[in-house]
């Protein structure tokens, strides 16, 4: 009898078990593996395991010349390929002290914003799908297709463009570019109402996202969560405002800051940002000055020895490029401070104590792109 009484009483309520979300899981948007400790449906903690798509881009850059690096940055955050390229181009231009023509600056800014809208559209698709509303996926892709068509007409490809080169652009924009962009803005202003009707206003979606995964402003800054996710917490981190590049200083747009920092706020930030991007494009599209599409560049680009840093606002947050040059035609060390990498690190912190369904919603609202995390 004694032994039975002395048996340790195992509290079933407190028992934890682990599941592997990923590497092949529908809601991790790629090959990310999250080891989630669960108690029933409640997430106790999670550990991200990265590296399933690590290609060593930073190492590859050490062998490539600066124009060649462009095609690698395309493949980091493939949804905002232009913006990644912009960072490298700006860095090289800054190091070489090259002044690019105004036309190039205008085109780059417009294309960046188009790319941002396309990226947010895809985020909206996948967020809707994470929430279980599969129809969102098709509406978002339908409208993204219009942007990709514009891209294809001008740059020849739909996803990975390699359009910017250090010093300018690969080729001039297509003669129909301005007309098509204006047509797209008119079209998308109509269609974005569908987005609001279908998902934003939906009571199920609001119930599932409001008050879920709250990230305070202090934590957002400390974790380095930037982009729409950071701004939802009230962290003013828009590089376009604080360290303007391109012609963002000539455009009139608002940096919208959230207050609550929950999943719904992160959702709303991106919806607002699509409107702001359209505003920027509308202001610039008619004012593209005539001129050359590239500055005069040397055949072989050699950055003076030293170190350079360039920050741009990618669709998911702040992208930093850090280069240590030893005066050769390829960088000595190239580091990409990718927004998704920092945004992922906060996932464990904000998803503790929520349910599996919430974890999926939070992951969707942080909008991570795995190749950008792994690089």
């Amino acid at each position: 009898m004694k032994e039975i009484i002395n048996l340790p009483v195992k509290n079933v309520e407190e028992e934890e078990y682990h599941i592997n979300m990923g590497p092949q899981h529908p809601s991790t948007h790629g090959v990310l593996r999250l080891v989630v400790s669960l108690q029933g449906e409640i997430v106790k903690n999670l550990k991200p395991h990265c590296g399933y798509i690590h290609r060593g881009i930073e190492k590859m850059c050490e062998k490539d010349t600066y124009p060649q690096i462009i095609h690698l940055t395309d493949r980091m955050d493939y949804l905002s390929a232009h913006i990644n390229n912009h960072a490298v181009c700006l860095l090289v231009e800054k190091a070489l002290e090259v002044e690019v023509p105004e036309r190039v600056k205008y085109i780059r800014t417009i294309v960046d914003e188009l790319n941002r809208i396309a990226s947010h559209q895809l985020w909206w698709c996948s967020f809707g799908m994470d929430m279980g509303g599969l129809t969102c996926f098709f509406y978002g892709l339908r409208d993204r297709e219009k942007i990709l068509d514009i891209f294809e007409e001008s740059f020849g490809s739909r996803l990975l463009h390699s359009y910017y080169t250090p010093g300018g652009l690969m080729m001039d924009i297509h003669p129909d570019f301005q007309k098509n962009v204006k047509a797209f803005i008119k079209y998308f202003r109509k269609k974005i109402k569908d987005y609001d009707d279908l998902l934003t206003g939906n009571v199920i979606m609001q119930l599932r996202t409001k008050g879920v995964g709250i990230l305070s402003k202090e934590d957002a800054i400390s974790y380095g969560v930037t982009g729409p996710s950071g701004r939802a917490s009230g962290f003013s981190c828009d590089v376009r405002k604080h360290h303007p590049y391109g012609v963002y200083d000539k455009a009139d747009f608002k940096e919208i800051l959230g207050t609550t920092g929950d999943t719904f706020e992160r959702y709303m930030m991106r919806m607002h940002e699509m409107h702001e991007s359209m505003k920027i494009i509308e202001q610039l599209i008619d004012n593209i000055p005539a001129g050359d599409y590239t500055a005069k560049m040397k055949a072989v680009l050699k950055l003076p020895a030293g170190e350079y840093f360039q920050r741009v606002e990618a669709a998911r947050g702040e992208l930093g490029v850090y280069v240590v040059s030893d005066g050769n035609k390829s960088p000595y060390r190239m580091k990409f401070r990718s927004p998704n990498f920092s945004n992922l690190s906060v996932l464990d912190h904000i998803s503790r104590g929520c349910k599996i369904a919430d974890l999926v919603a939070i992951g969707g609202s942080l909008d991570y792109v795995i190749p950008d995390i792994d690089r």
Binding site: G132, L134, T135
Partner: protein, 362 residues
Amino acid sequence: MNFSIYDFTSFTQWIDKFLYDNLPAFWAVVVEMTIIGIVVLLFYALVGLFLVYAERKVCAFMQNRVGPNRVGPYGFFQTIADLFKLLMKELVYIKNADKLLFNIAPFIVIIASFMAIAAIPFAKGLHAIDFDIGILYVIAVSSMGVVGILLAGWSSNNKYSLIGAMRSGAQIVSYELSVGLSLVTIIILAGTMQFSAIVEGQANGWFIFKGHIPAFIAFIVFLIASTAETNRGPFDLAEAESELTAGFHTEYSGIKFAFFFLAEYMNMFIVASIAATVFLGGWMPFHVGGWAGFNHIMDFIPPFIWYIGKTFFVIWVMMWFKWTFPRLRIDQLLTLEWKYLLPINLVNILIMAFIVLMGWHF
């Protein structure tokens, strides 16, 4: 025999009489059951295949797509091709799974929906059994399916499956209440639980119109609750492909997966039939009081068409739900049932009882 497409009673009675005249009683029953079995099986397979096709087409049109269009005209034979694919697929056996329960589970799910179909009247005189407690029987039998889902989730030895099965259990147990109570509202109005009598009671007007607002509320509640009971979106928490990959049927493959798949669509068909029978007048045509000519034209359409049309309308509404709404979370799902649907339902029954008591219904 005078056979007509408006009344199958004489037809079924003729078969019955023919069998009993020519065979001993025992064999007559056996042959009769076999015929019914084969007919139900065929019907089941046809409706299942058609519903899969319909779902794919409906969701495609809602999503600005064309949907399946490769096999046959407008892709009509796509599901048949899929069926052959599923039949030929390897059945994967899971290590450390409870083999017996793992294999039984899909059958339990599919048998539950088979049994429910027996009591549903497709047209006048066209039903396998006409119980006097038909509604009770259908509710009882259709809720057996959850046992299969629970077993499937548990025996798969997969954590995703287990979470899915547990969610499904909690969900079906609670939504069963709302389904039952919303039907009780109509039972009060109809005064019977026999399907044929319920349909006959709607000869002079469907219950959804006869019962004023309470009947309409009961219809809405029934639609929501039955969508939840069939594990369909926005209540598809048991599968929840973005959270649990495929939920309780993660580990199933080939024809066993097809059983779950088919059962889901048949359950949808069954609840839609019940909704059509109880609320929308079953095989009764649509009549407007005073419009004799219009009513005559409506009478001309065979009852079977009326029944199928109404059922498919309800199914279409359920598909519309699925392809519009995001998924609920498990706690919100239970909140919806216990804090909204159940109290509304109870008040609704009281009002309905009061209306019937005072004789205010049509």
